[in-house]
Symmetry: C2
Subunit: 363 residues, 2 copies
């Protein structure tokens, strides 16, 4: 695909950009989007940047019926010097193709799609907010568009990238949340689609989320679908615990999403010589650590929050107040360093950031 | 909703109707569709029959990202007397609302939607094919349309009903298929969405289906996601076995779809005084029955095929040839009686069929 170019159709109108204090997550989108089609035998074709507008899709398109779809989420940040940068976008595109494989969707050319994303972000650079903690959220997604309601992989797809300016996740500083252990509903199971970023996993999570919110919790802690004994994820984030000086996180087992932030946290901890271990973690083991006073910190990791400290973890008649309900030292350091690298305030020793500039637009 | 009426916008053009020998499943749709919208605080509103045409939906609509969608499938049949009838449509609408509940989608008025379906079918009656084994497939589905990419239940939905004339499932008579036991991939797990008719379950099934087809099998037999030991479904059908004169089927456990055909088969067997038991069925137990010669029949049940006899069941180094690879007596009787009732060739002692006629259109 190296010789391909992205055709650009400029929008004739421009929306008003929101003020910083009006920014929220995922409700407002920029003036343009990227689209590329797949059909057989051509493969992926017709990459183009077009005005952001509604899609026109047949009601029999598979995506409406059988959930054959995948997505990704990453962000573009402004540095203090006015540079635009992405954080490990190659990891998102690698995961997109892993998700594609699980969902029987044809793979995309990762380098080409990354170039297209950079070109779109550069075109929309005035939409990237500059206030502290704000960013431009990038949502690539693939939907199956063949007008056929048989249960089979689609022969037609659309890859679309939309952009949304988002406000700071923590408006009043990083803040711990209350989490309820979910023991009825299951998000994913080994052999299922848990490690793919596909709609069905999120659809499955809504009911538990709704019920826990009614009880005053922010998110649920998901247990494994087989024994309902081992910890998997928290809400739509990966989860870490600090126990007796060591940081532990559930090992990837086929039902856990391999988070880009998760991977970055592990690398950063190793870089700091803090022991970090990926392993099966039972809820019992965690409770024991709490009781004997060695459960020092708990936090979720994800693109939206980066680090989300867990101040309280509850199930049955148990309420664990972790680190006195306050943000722990490791969580705070991780948050500051990761956001520091993402926003270009700190040196990036890992080669994680990628610049977006004029050359991104010249392809 | 009793006072509601469905507004009808007639299509200005009419498509050519296919010849019987050109009919296949789910690729061709009729001239009209039914749509109803949901938004807050109004609830479901604006029920209408409109020309079949592409939907115009924002690229940020939740349905493209988080799989919050449900569907149903049923058929309209012509009787030899020229009557149009549906088979147990109330069961489909009850299940639609159960699926809605699991997916956090607001419930629909079942009686009203059934009336709307009848009105649409009556309007499109010339599309119902009349040859043996043909029918008009009815696909109600609900998609989440709020333009918001946060993970939360949508506040906007569309219920859409589309119709597709379908050919005979068995063009050369009912015929047994080869099934492979799936021991890597999982369709659903207890606590997940398996008993809801939602896209994610079908998306999860595609990979296993693709791999088994490469090995020459028609469908996979799904095992439970916890122990991978107990039989759940076959392809997208429920499954039954006849062992030593008794018919057995996996009991509903939260991860198995409650099929309308499954329910009808159980009632019909009881009506015939054939013992039928819903219970956990292990693959080991089935193998034992095969070895000692008491596994007499195996068949899947679903709206598309009605009854699909299993002639061969394979896993590891085992190939079970059931009833000599031929359709069993019970499977054949069930097929003939169920299709007899559906097509109005046989008396319906259960009150399963519902007529669609002029009065359906007068609301």
């Amino acid at each position: 695909m190296e010789e391909w170019t992205v055709e650009v159709h400029h929008s004739k109108t421009k929306k008003n950009k929101p003020k910083t204090d009006q920014l929220e997550f995922g409700r407002l989108f920029t003036d343009h989007m990227f689209i590329m089609d797949y059909s057989e035998p051509v493969g992926w074709h017709d990459p183009r940047i077009v005005p952001y507008e509604p899609l026109t899709i047949d009601p029999s398109a598979m995506t409406f019926h059988y959930g054959q779809s995948v997505f990704e989420g990453l962000k573009a940040y402004y540095t203090p010097e006015g540079d635009i940068q992405l954080f490990r976008p190659d990891k998102n595109l690698q995961r997109l193709n892993r998700s594609n494989d699980r969902l029987c969707i044809p793979p995309v050319d990762e380098a080409f799609v990354l170039d297209a994303i950079k070109q779109l972000v550069f075109l929309e650079r005035e939409w990237i907010p500059t206030s502290d903690g704000t960013s431009l959220y990038i949502r690539p997604f693939i939907i199956s568009t063949e007008p056929f309601i048989g249960v089979a992989p689609s022969h037609q797809y659309k890859l679309i990238v939309i952009l949304s300016p988002v406000g700071a996740y923590y408006k009043e500083g990083i803040n711990p949340v209350k989490i309820a252990v979910e023991n009825q509903y299951v998000r994913a199971v080994k052999g299922g689609t848990g490690e793919a970023k596909t709609g069905g996993n999120y659809a499955a999570s809504l009911k538990a989320q709704e019920l826990c919110a009614q009880k005053g919790f922010t998110q649920v802690l998901w247990l494994d679908g087989v024994e309902k004994k081992y910890i998997e994820e928290v809400g739509s984030m990966n989860v870490f615990f600090k126990v007796n000086g060591e940081v532990i996180t559930p090992e990837l087992n086929g039902s856990i999403l391999e988070g880009v932030t998760r991977n970055s946290v592990i690398q950063l901890l190793k870089h700091w010589d803090i022991p970090v271990i990926e392993k099966k973690i039972s809820l019992d083991e965690l409770y024991e650590a709490y009781v004997n006073g060695t459960l020092e910190e708990a936090f979720g990791t994800g693109t939206a929050a980066v680090i989300s400290p867990i101040g309280q973890l509850s199930w049955d008649d148990k309420d664990l107040f972790i680190n006195g309900g306050k943000t722990g030292k490791v969580a705070k350091s991780l948050y500051e360093t990761l956001t520091g690298i993402q926003y270009g305030r700190e040196h990036d020793p890992f080669g994680w950031v990628e610049k977006v500039n004029e050359t991104s637009a010249v392809k």
